[in-house]
C-alpha cells in the first residue's frame, strides 16, 4: 500500500517532493537524490519528461527510488502516449510496486528539445484519471474488458488555481474529483490570497471532503528566478510583493530570502482549512528540501 496514502489517512500533514530524472542513463543521479530525500518526505513525485525534454523514463526512475526505500509518485502525461500505452503503463507500474500515479496533460512538445514531435493527447488528464479509477475499482479497461488483476494505485491529479478563467478552475477540480482523483497537487503558490479564495470555493462545493489537496511550493533561488517565473511561465502568479522582497535582499542572501518566503508559505498553508499537505518542487535544489521541511517544523515524518 502507498505510504503516502497511509500518512493522509492518519490525518497527518503530508509532505511530498519532486525528483527530476537525469538526461542520461545514469542511475546514480537518482540514488543521490533518494539519499537527500529519505526520511524528509512521505513520497516523491517523479516527473515525466517535464517541459517536454527527453529524460530517463519516469517509471524507471520510480523503481530506482523504490529500491532505496522511498514511496514514488509516478507522473504520467498524456502528451506522449495514447490510451493503449497509458493503460499498459499503469498495469506495469502497479506490477513493479508503484502505488501512486499522478495523471497529467504534460507541457506542450513545442517547449522542449523535440519540438518536431507529434503530440498525442489521445486522452485528456481528466479522462485519464477516470480510466485509472475504473481500472482500479472496476477491474476493467476503457471499453469494459476485464483485467486479470486490477492495479493497486492511489490516484492523483494537478490543479492550477492561478490559471484563467478563474470560475472554471473549480469546475476542473470538481471534474477531477468526480473522475476519481484521491489527491491533488497544485501549481506553485505565491499568491496566497488567490489560493485561499480558490480553497474557500472548493470547501463550499464540498470538494475538500472528497479529495486530499496538497499545496505546491517552489523556493525561489533569486530575484531573477522570481521575475522569470512571473513573466515567462504561463499560469504562474508571482505577486509584486514577492518580487520586491526578493529584490530587496542583497544578492548573497536572496536564496535565504527565498527559503524564508517558502517556509512562511508552508506555515500559512497549514492553517488553510482543507489543505492536507504540501508538495515541494525545489527545482534543481533537492539538497535544500530536508532543511526546508525541518524549518517548516514538519520533521520527523510519521512512520
Amino acid at each position: 500500500m502507498s505510504r503516502f496514502k497511509s500518512v493522509l489517512d492518519q490525518g497527518a500533514f503530508a509532505v511530498t517532493a519532486e525528483c527530476g530524472p537525469p538526461k542520461g542513463a545514469d542511475p546514480d543521479v537518482i540514488m543521490k537524490k533518494a539519499e537527500l530525500l529519505k526520511g524528509k518526505v512521505d513520497a516523491v513525485n517523479v516527473t515525466d519528461n517535464q517541459t517536454a525534454v527527453v529524460r530517463m523514463s519516469s517509471l524507471a526512475a520510480c523503481v530506482l527510488l523504490k529500491r532505496q526505500g522511498l514511496d514514488p509518485i509516478l507522473q504520467a502525461v498524456v502528451r506522449d502516449r495514447n490510451r493503449i500505452a497509458l493503460q499498459s503503463d499503469i498495469l506495469g507500474a502497479s506490477a513493479l510496486g508503484i502505488r501512486n500515479i499522478l495523471c497529467l496533460s504534460g507541457d506542450h512538445q513545442s517547449f522542449g528539445n523535440q519540438p518536431q514531435a507529434l503530440g498525442v493527447f489521445d486522452l485528456d488528464s481528466i479522462q485519464f484519471v477516470q480510466v485509472v479509477q475504473r481500472m482500479r475499482d472496476q477491474g476493467a479497461i476503457l471499453g469494459g474488458e476485464r483485467l486479470s488483476r486490477a492495479p493497486d494505485v492511489f490516484i492523483g491529479a494537478a490543479a492550477n488555481p492561478f490559471g484563467d478563467p478563474f470560475n472554471f478552475r473549480l469546475v476542473r477540480l470538481a471534474k477531477k474529483v468526480a473522475a476519481g482523483a484521491d489527491f491533488i497537487q497544485t501549481q506553485c503558490i505565491y499568491n496566497l490570497e488567490r489560493f485561499e479564495r480558490w480553497m474557500a470555493m472548493a470547501r463550499e462545493r464540498g470538494l475538500t471532503e472528497k479529495v486530499h489537496i496538497l499545496g505546491g511550493v517552489t523556493p525561489l533561488k533569486s530575484a531573477g528566478m522570481a521575475k522569470y517565473m512571473k513573466k515567462k511561465v504561463a499560469g504562474m502568479d508571482v505577486p509584486d510583493g514577492i518580487i520586491r522582497r526578493m529584490d530587496g535582499a542583497p544578492a548573497k542572501t536572496q536564496a535565504e530570502e527565498g527559503l524564508k518566503i517558502c517556509v512562511e508559505t508552508i506555515q500559512r498553508l497549514r492553517e488553510v482549512r482543507g489543505v492536507k499537505g504540501v508538495h515541494i518542487m525545489a527545482i534543481d535544489w533537492e539538497d535544500m528540501v530536508g532543511e526546508l521541511v525541518e524549518r517548516a517544523g514538519l520533521l520527523p515524518r510519521p512512520n
Binding site: 503530440g119 485528456d124 479522462q127 492550477n160 469546475v171 499560469g235
Partner: protein, 222 residues
C-alpha cells in the same frame, strides 16, 4: 475550405531541376480562394521560374494552365490534349488535387508547389484559421460551436489547461485559448452547467478505424 501556402522557391526549383518541359498547373477552387494556387499565383510562379531558368542560361519550356478543380477528374481530363508536350507537372493544387492529377497521368512525374495546410475559415482578408480537424464525428454542439480538438493546442475536451492566461494559449500568445472562447460562448447562451460533466474520450475510429476514409453515395453514382 482547404488552405495552402506556396513552398519556398528553392525547394520548388530543386524538384523541377531535372525536367525540360514543365506545365505549371493552377487550381481555381480552394487554393485560389486563399491566394496560394489560383490563376494569378500560377502565372506569377511560372514567370519567376522562367526568369530564373533564363538567368541560369538553361533551356526550359515552362507553360501555365489553371483548371477549375484539380481534385475532380471531369476537369483534369481537359489536359488530355496537351499533356504529351510536357515531361513534368508542377501542381499548385492541394494534396488531393496533386494526387488526382497524378492518378490521371501516371506516366508523368507530378511535383507539388504548395504545402497543404488545413480546413480553414477565412477570418479576415489575408487571415485563415484552422478550425476543423475533419475528425468524422462532429461534437461542436457540446462546445458552443467551437472545436476544442482543432483549436486547443492539447486537444483538451474537459476545460482549459493551467496555462490559459488572459484568454491566450500558453504555447502561442498570438492565438486565443479555445477553452476561454468555449466558456464565454456557452455562458452567453446560458448553458454553463453543460460543461460541468466529464466529456468521454474521443472516438478516433471515426477518423482512422478503417484506414483512409471513403464516402460512398450510391444515389450520386452513375
Amino acid at each position: 475550405m482547404i488552405t495552402a501556402e506556396q513552398k519556398p522557391l528553392d525547394e520548388i526549383r530543386e524538384m523541377i531541376a531535372p525536367y525540360k518541359r514543365i506545365l505549371v498547373l493552377g487550381c481555381g477552387s480552394c487554393v485560389a480562394e486563399c491566394a496560394a494556387g489560383g490563376e494569378k499565383e500560377t502565372g506569377m510562379l511560372a514567370s519567376i521560374l522562367r526568369m530564373a531558368a533564363k538567368m541560369e542560361g538553361r533551356e526550359v519550356l515552362i507553360n501555365e494552365k489553371t483548371l477549375e478543380r484539380q481534385c475532380v477528374k471531369d476537369f483534369v481530363i481537359l489536359l488530355d490534349d496537351i499533356i504529351q508536350d510536357y515531361d513534368a507537372l508542377l501542381s499548385l493544387g492541394c494534396g488531393a488535387g496533386v494526387q488526382a492529377v497524378g492518378d490521371c497521368f501516371p506516366e508523368i512525374p507530378i511535383i507539388p508547389a504548395l504545402n497543404t495546410e488545413f480546413l480553414g475559415e477565412t477570418k479576415d482578408q489575408g487571415l485563415w484559421l484552422e478550425n476543423c480537424l475533419g475528425c468524422g464525428d462532429c461534437k461542436l454542439y457540446h462546445f458552443g460551436g467551437i472545436c476544442p480538438l482543432a483549436r486547443c493546442s492539447k486537444h483538451l475536451l474537459n476545460g482549459p489547461c493551467g496555462g490559459s492566461v488572459g484568454g491566450k494559449c500558453e504555447i502561442n500568445p498570438e492565438i486565443p485559448c479555445a477553452w476561454q472562447l468555449i466558456i464565454d460562448r456557452v455562458e452567453q447562451q446560458g448553458g454553463f452547467e453543460r460543461l460541468e460533466g466529464i466529456f468521454p474520450p474521443k472516438d478516433w475510429s471515426k477518423k482512422q478505424g478503417l484506414g483512409p476514409r471513403r464516402i460512398i453515395r450510391e444515389d450520386q453514382q452513375r
